[in-house]
Symmetry: C2
Subunit: 345 residues, 2 copies
C-alpha cells in the first residue's frame, strides 16, 4: 500500500484551455503572460478556465524556448552548519517570489579540482550560480564560468574584485577591530593563531592585526605565532604548542571561531583560566561562539546579508543589466566573556 505516482489525467496545457475557451493557444499564452492585446472578457474567461483546470505552465517547455532553466546553484564547501544555513537563507530570501529555484551543490574540494566543480555546475544546467568561499576566489573557476557564459555571484570574495556580482566584507577592518579590542583592554603580549594559508583571508586578517598594532604605536610583533588551518583541532594543537613554548601571552587572536574554541579547550585542559589569565578572541561569530564557555569575543561576518546581495547581483547580471557594483557589508564586534583586562593591567 504505497502512494504510486499515478499518471494523473494529463496535466492541462494551454491547448486544453484554448479548446474550452474557443480561442487559439496563442491567446491563452498571451493571457498567462499578462501580455496586452486581449479583450478583457476573453482574458477573464481564460483565467477562469485555467483555474478550473488547475493549469500550471510547463516550466520545461518555457525553458526550452527561453534557453533558461530557472535554476540557480549555490556552492560551498562543507564548513559549519550554521554558515551553510545562513548562506542558503540569504539566497532564498532574495529568490522568494522569483521564478528561480535554488539548487544546493556542496563540493568537497574546489581548490584541488576546480574543473570538477565547474562541470558539476554545467551538468546541473544552471542559469547562474552563487559562489561561497573558497570557490568565490578561485580564478580557474571564474575563468571556466566566464568561458561557458554562466553568470555568477560571489560571497565574500577577497580577490579579483569586479568579476561577477560581489558581496564583500572588509576582512582587514574586521580583524583590526578585534585586535584593537584587545589592545584597548590593555593587552600588549598577544599571541596569534593563523588560518589556512591557502585562504586569502588569513593574510588579510593578519594585515588587520598589523594595522591595529600600528595604531597603538607598536610594531607588529606577536609574542608567539602559530599556524592553523581553521579547524578546531588545529586550534587545540596551536594552543598546546604555545603553552609548551614557555612564553605565555596574555591574549590570543585566533583567525576564526573554531580555532578559538580549540584554544579554549587546550587552555582549559592546561588549567589556564579564561579570561582571567588568558583572553581569547575569534573571528566569524559562528554558532560556536555563543555555545562555548566562556562565550567567545569575536567579529560577526554578515553571511546572510552577503548571500542575499550576491544573489541579487547575480539576478541583475542574468537580467542583462550590464555591470553590478560590489557591495561591502559591515562587520560587528561581538564582545563577550572570553576577553578581559590582563592581570597586571
Amino acid at each position: 500500500m504505497t502512494s504510486s505516482s499515478k499518471p494523473d489525467e494529463k496535466r492541462a496545457t494551454i491547448v486544453d484551455i484554448a479548446r474550452r475557451a474557443g480561442v487559439s493557444p496563442k491567446t491563452v499564452s498571451r493571457v498567462m503572460n499578462d501580455e496586452p492585446h486581449v479583450k478583457q472578457a476573453v482574458r477573464e474567461q481564460v483565467k477562469a478556465i485555467a483555474r478550473e483546470l488547475n493549469y500550471h505552465p510547463n516550466v520545461m517547455a518555457q525553458g526550452l524556448i527561453a534557453r533558461k532553466s530557472y535554476l540557480i546553484g549555490l556552492t560551498y564547501e562543507r564548513p559549519s552548519p550554521s554558515y551553510v544555513v545562513e548562506l542558503q537563507r540569504g539566497a532564498l530570501e532574495r529568490l522568494a517570489g522569483e521564478r528561480y529555484r535554488l539548487i544546493v551543490l556542496p563540493f568537497a574540494d574546489a581548490t584541488q579540482d576546480p574543473q570538477g566543480l565547474v562541470s558539476l555546475l554545467r551538468v546541473a544546467a544552471l542559469d547562474g550560480v552563487v559562489l561561497a568561499p573558497p570557490s568565490s576566489d578561485l580564478e580557474p573557476v571564474l575563468d571556466a564560468l566566464d568561458a561557458i557564459g554562466m553568470p555568477y555571484g560571489r560571497v565574500a570574495p577577497r580577490s579579483f574584485p569586479g568579476r561577477g556580482a560581489c558581496a564583500t566584507m572588509d576582512d582587514v577592518a574586521a580583524a583590526r577591530a578585534v585586535a584593537e579590542h584587545l589592545l584597548r583592554l590593555g593587552h600588549r603580549s598577544i599571541g596569534v593563531i593563523y588560518g589556512h594559508r591557502d585562504h586569502i583571508s588569513s593574510a588579510l586578517r593578519r594585515q588587520g592585526y598589523v594595522e591595529a598594532f600600528a595604531a597603538y604605536g607598536l610594531d607588529y610583533l606577536p609574542v608567539v605565532e602559530q599556524p592553523g588551518d581553521f579547524t578546531r583541532e588545529s586550534g587545540v594543537a596551536a594552543m598546546q604548542r604555545i603553552i609548551s613554548g614557555g612564553i605565555m601571552p596574555t591574549a590570543i587572536l585566533a583567525q576564526n571561531d573554531d580555532m578559538a574554541v580549540g584554544a579554549l579547550m587546550a587552555a582549559r585542559e592546561a588549567g589556564i583560566s579564561v579570561p582571567e589569565t588568558l583572553s581569547i578572541a575569534g573571528f566569524d561569530d559562528s554558532d560556536v561562539a555563543r555555545l562555548a564557555w566562556p562565550t567567545l569575543t569575536t567579529v560577526r561576518q554578515p553571511v546572510v546579508d552577503m548571500a542575499r546581495q550576491a544573489t541579487d547581483g547575480l539576478l541583475a547580471l542574468m537580467s542583462g543589466r550590464g555591470s553590478v557594483a560590489p557591495t561591502t557589508h559591515e562587520h560587528v564586534l561581538c564582545m563577550r566573556h572570553s576577553t578581559a583586562q590582563p592581570r597586571h593591567g
Copy 2:
C-alpha cells in the same frame, strides 16, 4: 567591468554533432544514451565530436519529452542548522551520481498552511519530494500530493505508515533510553522541557519518558514541565522559568539538543554548575551536542541515514517499482559530560 552572461556561441546540439559526423540526429541520440544498434566506429566518432564540441544534452528538451524535471525537493521547517544540514547531506548522498538535482524548500508553517506548501511544490515542478517533520506527518499534505500524483519520501514519520516511502525511527524507544540513563544515575527529581506541540515527536518522546519512569516503578511526574518549541531560545526561557519557579530538579530532559543547550546557557548564567548541581540531557545528537561545554548527553537520531533512505525510497517509487517497505533506524545513546549522579545520589 563585470562578467556578463554573453550568449556564448550557441551550445552544441545533437544536430550539430550529427552534421559533423555525417549521421542522423537519432544516431547521435542513440550514442548519447548508450543504446545498442550503433556500429562501434560510428559510436566512437560521435563521442569524440561531442567531446570536442563540449556537448551537454539539454535537460529541458529531454524533460519535455519524458515529462520529468529531474528535480527533487526537500522540505523542512527551519529547525536547527545541523538538522537541516544532515537532512540535506543524506538526500545528496543518495542523489550523487543520479541525474536528479536537489531543490531546498524551507517552509515556515506547513501545519498552518498545508495547501501553501503543496502549491509551492507544484510550482517548483518537482518530480518528487522528500518530506521532513513536521510536514511528513501532515495528512492534508500527503493527500494533496497523492491527488496531484507527486511521489514523496518521508523522514521520520510518526503516522500513516505505508504512505509514501518511509524512513522511520522509534522516538519512544530513544526517549526511553535517555530517561533511563538519568534514572540509572540516581535522579528522581527530573524536569522536562518539551518540544513544539505541533510536532508529534514531542508527544512520542514524552511517552518514552513515561515508560522509563514506569520501568523504575515510578509514576510519570516530572518535578517541573515547561513548554518549548525546539529552538535554543525556548530552551533558555524554559530553564529560566524553572529556575525562578523555586523547585529545582537535579536533572533536565530536553526534547532536543538545541533546547538542552539553551538550558545549559541559562543554568550557567544563574551560576548553576552542570553536571555537578544539575544534569542536562538532550535529544538528536546534533552538532551542538559536541560543541557545547560540558558536552551534551543525548540520543543520536540517525537523520542522515533516514534522509538517505527516504530519498532512496522516493527514487524507487518514481522509477515505478511498486511499493517500498518502510525502514526503521536505530537510535544511539551518547553519554557525555552534561550528566552525572545527583549530589545526594
